[in-house]
């Protein structure tokens, strides 16, 4: 009789990278639908262009370097969608496509692929697009702030992600399932709210879709946040502080979110290194 020989543990939880990525993708779909409803055909085109760009470049790189093709794990598709959600609806279709090619090709694969990149590809792409095509990357109108109904369906424009912040509600399920980290969003939100109130800016800034996308999807990107428990709390605070610093002095909390998060990505290894937990029982009795 043949028995399989393999190392323990012999039972594992049914969670995989594939599941983590596709679940994030699915949770973002209602937001995409809302943006298509609000902005019409251009939004759909942007989203498809972003996803196609990401898949195209991942396939090209992995074929060219004779690596195993990992499009099935959903990481590229998810990044492409995220990149498309961070552009204004009125841009030409090639913009999110180029963005996704840059994000997945340069920021993800040139830095070592899945799990190795030091900046969130979507975030770095946004900065890249913003610097390269500054006129295209300005929304026709900023989201109107002030009324709570904007949470459900934004009346102003902004980026695609600003369409309907409430459509991201599915993220709470992912947090409950521990597919998404809870410490970072919690500390990020708390810090931002406290600082905004202290500095006297209108609180409605934090109801924008871009900010919530940053809190729940970009800040919690696993490769670019610390792995230590305390490190994640501190990282959340750092994200909040950096966002508010930028937002307070420029008056633009949406761009502040993205620039702040990029800086937070940069200090994440430092936070991790300085928060290595003490061993159970101490080092010496």
């Amino acid at each position: 009789m043949a028995f399989t020989v393999s190392p323990p543990p012999h039972i594992k939880e049914g969670v995989s990278v594939k599941k983590l990525m596709w679940s994030r993708f699915i949770v973002l779909l209602p937001l995409c639908l809302a943006s298509i409803y609000l902005f019409g055909f251009p939004a759909l085109g942007n989203l498809v262009a972003g996803v196609l760009g990401a898949v195209f470049i991942e396939l090209a790189i992995q074929k060219a370097f004779k690596q195993k093709v990992t499009i099935g794990d959903g990481n590229a598709v998810y990044l492409g969608l995220l990149i498309a959600l961070m552009v204004p609806p009125a841009v030409p279709f090639w913009l999110p496509f180029i963005g996704a090619v840059f994000g997945v090709g340069v920021v993800k694969h040139a830095f070592g692929g899945l799990g190795s990149y030091m900046f969130n590809p979507a975030l770095a792409t946004w900065v890249f697009l913003k610097l390269s095509w500054p006129f295209l990357m300005v929304p026709l109108s900023v989201p109107q702030l002030g009324s709570l109904s904007d949470l459900i369906l934004e009346t102003g424009a902004g980026f695609l992600a600003d369409a309907s912040p409430i459509a991201m509600i599915g993220v709470l399920y992912l947090i409950a399932r521990r597919y998404i980290e809870w410490r970072i969003p919690l500390m990020y939100l708390l810090t931002t709210v406290v600082l905004v109130v202290v500095l006297g800016d209108p609180l409605s800034y934090i109801f924008t879709g871009s900010f919530l996308l940053g809190v729940f999807f970009i800040a919690t990107e696993t490769s670019t946040s610390p792995i230590t428990r305390n490190g994640r709390l501190i990282y959340g605070v750092a994200c909040g502080v950096l966002t508010v610093v930028y937002g307070y002095f420029t008056g633009n909390y949406i761009e502040g979110t993205f620039y702040g998060l990029l800086l937070a990505n940069a200090i994440s290894p430092l936070i991790e290194r300085s928060t290595v937990p003490k061993p159970f029982g101490g080092v010496e009795a």
């Binding site: 323990p8 039972i11 983590l20």
Partner: protein
């Protein structure tokens, strides 16, 4: 407790390894063709970490050679063809023996703890010890011995006597109602046992101060403390955490098992050496349960006693699905440190492929001893063992929780274990260098 079967059917061939714990191997005392009796010593060894091997069967020595073993390796074993005779060597019970004689008898009987240490060594670590813990947190194993609970408790008292330790604490799982009920009805030293829960900072010490009983039972939590989880056991039950690089005996605690307590009773009150054990069989068999098995019985006989395989077996796991060894053959025998057998069907066998770490931190969240499993594993993979040491790799209790939750399906436990081995080798090499200077 009634579902414990005793495996009386003689196996076709009994394989008795000369090394049944993690210590020195014995040299065989018998030759091919020799007749052996029940309880006859088959293996003799010299050194400090030894456990003599006795024959659980009466029969003829068929061969001596390398045979399959539940550890996955091939180990020098005596192969017996058991016969129907029940003749045994003379068992000399000895009551009212002084402590030094008790230790001697425990050593002679070849009793081994569940964490692979010979009992006579475990009981006398040469340090100040104030508490002997009995780890009864394996519900199925404990249930298998509930029928002979008085013997287990007597054995436990004997261990206290032999080691000169003043207090004994029996640890059971808080959700193991059956065992708790049985312990409630048990009597030690003419008094019923006290059952105490561990709540917050009220550890076993708190109850031992109030009661003048020698032995109490505590309901610790909902954890089964596996052999490597000494640090957690000591912390949860006694409130004493073990610092890096130390043993339970450094915090004045010694741990023993249910099986060894019963074996100590047999050794002293009946004069019998360590010949049989309860083994739990779970998973894809027709009648899962506990079986009392004589050492040397092939695993397939144990499975037959449990009604045979259910469906097509895919994996045979010895000692638990979290940290156990998957063996390649069911010809391997049950040995002293075999506790449980888990059978998985072909469909249940995991076929994951490990990919790169995504730094999700799930392993960090579940680690019971505050480690960064993914970082240690990555350094270990790169051969940077000094970095592993700086991340306290030696503190790892090898529970496997990190590998269970890993979405990238990395072999975290194996990498960390490997780094521990390398760190150990490095420090041994350093010590050698110091000595030769």
């Amino acid at each position: 407790m009634s579902d414990v079967i005793r495996l009386d059917k003689l196996p076709e061939k009994a394989i008795i390894p000369m090394r049944q714990h993690d210590g020195i191997a014995c040299a065989p005392l018998v030759k091919k063709g020799e007749e052996v009796l029940v309880g006859q010593k088959l293996g003799e060894c010299e050194g400090s970490d030894l456990a003599y091997v006795h024959s659980p069967f009466c029969g003829t020595v068929e061969s001596i050679g390398l045979m399959p073993n539940p550890s996955g390796k091939r180990i020098l074993s005596v192969v017996l063809t058991p016969s129907e005779c029940t003749q045994s060597v003379e068992f000399v019970p000895e009551k009212n023996a002084p402590p030094s004689r008790l230790i001697q008898m425990i050593k002679e009987a070849g009793i081994v703890e569940y964490y692979e240490k010979p009992t006579y060594l475990a009981l006398k670590p040469g340090k100040r010890i104030d508490t002997l813990l009995m780890n009864a947190t394996f519900p199925l194993i404990t249930h298998a011995y509930l029928n002979s609970l008085d013997k287990v408790l007597k054995g436990f008292s004997l261990m206290l006597e032999a080691s000169g330790i003043s207090r004994g604490v029996i640890v059971v799982r808080a959700d193991d109602k059956e065992s708790i009920k049985a312990f409630k009805g048990a009597v030690v030293d003419g008094k019923p046992l006290t059952i105490a829960p561990i709540i917050g900072k009220r550890h076993a010490d708190y109850y031992l101060e109030d009661i003048d009983d020698r032995i109490i039972v505590v309901a610790a939590g909902k954890i089964t403390y596996t052999p490597t989880m000494m640090n957690l056991l000591s912390a949860d039950v006694m409130g004493r955490k073990i610092s890096l690089g130390h043993e339970p005996s450094d915090v004045h605690v010694v741990v023993c098992g249910v099986k060894s307590s019963k074996a100590v009773y047999d050794a002293i009150y009946e004069g019998k050496p360590y010949l049989e054990n309860a083994v739990t069989v779970t998973g894809a068999v027709n009648k899962p349960g506990s079986v009392i098995v004589r050492f040397g019985t092939p695993i397939k006989d144990v499975i037959d006693a449990c009604g045979g395989y259910r469906g097509e077996p895919g994996k045979l796991i010895i000692n638990g699905s979290m940290g156990g060894v998957a063996v390649y053959t069911d010809e391997a025998p049950v040995v002293k440190n075999t506790t449980g057998i888990v059978i998985q069907t072909k469909e249940e066998v995991l076929r994951d492929e490990s990919i790169a770490c995504v730094h999700c931190g799930r392993c960090v969240d579940v680690c019971p001893v505050n480690l960064l499993p993914t970082r240690i594993a990555s350094y270990s993979n790169l051969g940077k063992y000094e970095e592993c040491e700086q991340l306290y790799a030696m503190n790892c209790i090898e529970c496997g929780a990190c590998a269970v939750v890993c979405p990238s399906k990395r072999h975290l436990v194996q990498l960390i274990k490997y780094s521990k081995l390398q760190i150990h080798n490095l420090s041994a090499a350093e010590a050698m260098e110091e000595a030769t200077k």
